[in-house]
Subunit: 173 residues, 2 copies
DNA sequence: TATTGTTATACTCTATAACTATA
DNA sequence: TATAGTTATAGAGTATAACAATA
């Protein structure tokens, strides 16, 4: 019996097994009993496993529109802060500015984002969503909500809210 | 005011700022106000930020012994399941077997781990910690506990326990 | 035929350093 | 001198595919 069976409202949601790790040829279903030792007492281990689970569900749920978590976060924050600079976006999301360049190149190539000349500082760019970007974001948000519902189904609505509150301790601090 | 201020027992532990992201030259401390939009309602976003925080604290706390989270998990599970195969370890930790080869090569080069011939299946290896590996793991566990205490200090002891329970829903499932 | 360990490749993301053009 | 954006490189980590030895 694995650790979560006692506590998870719906341990098998959305189907048996890890979202993207369904073995192609599963001859022996016998899941070996492996002792994880101290690992299950470490928040870091559980967070890593949980984060992989969540991101894979996100990627799968938004696969039709081909948006990954990092891209979603960039679009969302630009939408909420039109005209912001790359440095500001980089700091807000904790994404290295060098990495952000590539993310923005992709989103600009897809005509979701505009880099406009700043009026006050000619070193920096003012970031804006295009009309196409705003339209796409509406669809993306809808799918992202669907994804979030998967998580709430998995862990329970109250626990979902609780996790949001508890994890905020580590964000940005 | 950031999101976690109301809820975190000790929002500034262990010092101001992110563990490894202290700017080298911080002229203007004025943290710009950036609206994160819907992101703070997404478990995935908060998990990613939290996981980065936690892993960076782990890496820093165990820097003297030069052990990273993935290496720690491998040593711990081999210790608890002497003689296990690489496939079994790969499945238990959710690490691709191709990736595990490199991890084990490193740990074998450091004389922490032995790959012995299996007695029952000549395709597979039986994994064991060496005497040096067991000795090192004792020190490593002590530092890992210190790291875990940092997390408990950050989020509060009761919340720490709560998080362990809630996140287990996503692990392994 | 399928599985174990291995090698190799591609892609995402992190971490740096260096460069340019501005400030 | 310092900062914004860019380019480049190195290293984790993930995801695949293919191969040899073995089952």
């Amino acid at each position: 019996m694995t650790n979560h069976d006692q506590n998870c409202p719906n341990p098998d949601y959305p189907e048996k097994g890890h979202p993207l790790r369904m073995a192609k040829t599963m001859r022996s279903e016998a899941a070996e009993i492996v002792d994880l030792g101290e690992l299950t007492k470490h928040l870091g281990y559980l967070m890593r496993r949980a984060q992989i689970w969540v991101f894979q569900d996100f990627i799968r749920t938004l696969a039709t529109i081909n948006i990954r978590p990092a891209q979603y976060s960039v679009l969302t924050v630009i939408n909420a802060n039109a005209g912001m600079t790359q440095m500001s976006l980089s700091k807000a999301l904790g994404i290295e500015r060098a990495r952000l360049v590539h993310l923005l190149n992709e989103l600009e190539a897809r005509k979701f984002v505009d880099r406009r000349a700043s009026k006050t500082d000619r070193r920096s760019h003012a970031l804006h969503l295009t009309a196409k970007g705003r339209s796409a974001l509406a669809d993306i948000k809808s799918l992202a909500q669907e994804h979030e519902q998967h998580l709430a189904d998995r862990v329970g609505r109250k626990n979902h809210q609780l996790l949001l509150r508890l994890l905020a301790c580590f964000a940005s601090g």
